[in-house]
């Protein structure tokens, strides 16, 4: 995990660095940064920003998981 994070954040990952389910981890920084910046551009108070960021982050994860489940179910019938 630490190796993955160091590759991802500090050095970037090469084409063969990861495969399979580990690629889903690329979603984590995307969701954290998106929800934090989006929350920060809507409010000034940090307590409200964090609350908003958690809401948006949760909503994004649920939406992504929903799309994943739908795609998985569709793939079972193909």
């Amino acid at each position: 995990m630490i190796s993955f994070l160091s590759q991802l954040i500090l050095f970037g990952a090469g084409p063969e660095a990861m495969s399979g389910w580990e690629q889903i981890l690329y979603l984590v920084p995307l969701v954290i940064c998106t929800s934090l910046v989006y929350g920060a551009t809507r409010h000034e108070d940090w307590r409200v920003i964090i609350t908003e960021a958690i809401k948006i982050g949760t909503w994004l994860m649920v939406l992504t998981a929903g799309v994943f489940v739908v795609a998985l179910i569709v793939s079972l019938f193909n």
């Binding site: 991802l8 090469g14 910046v37 920060a40 809507r42 000034e44 409200v48």
Partner: protein, 179 residues
Amino acid sequence: MAIEDEYEFDLDLKNRGVAALLGWLVPGVGHLYQGRTSKGIAIFISVSLLFITGLQMSGGKVVYCSFRQPDIRWQFLGQSFVGSAAIPAVIQNRVVRGQEAAGETHRPLFGGKFSPPDGRERIDWHADYHAYFQMGTLYTFVAGLLNMFAIFDAAFGPMAYGIEVVVNDTDETEGEEVW
């Protein structure tokens, strides 16, 4: 604390145009100029992390300006909201297209950073980096769009609904009430 309970507050945006320009050049710097330090640092770290990570995982190839067939790089419209990358990309585009028009060989500046690909080079990039080219494009594209929100926040204040924000613009003699 419920979001609806957020208190009214004064916000000194200083010179909005300068703040927006600084925020476009380097994410978060517009907020630092306005004295919104913690917010500026959070935006700088978040946007830069996404943008640099996207560049790193794709060998720095994903940010370039090209709007000519067969390579219509529409993702650059999002990436261009990070000005420190958009400016060299546009310069590279003008240099390379000028060389092509003059019938010269491709000789981009800065060792080819942010330069549009030459012919088969684009196919080679996809072959070399596989899904990481798409992932890097997504990261840099999202980083650019997030900075667009940040620039808007630096220029006009937070986009909160139902909250009264009194915005003071130092260029004007009186405060301007918005929202």
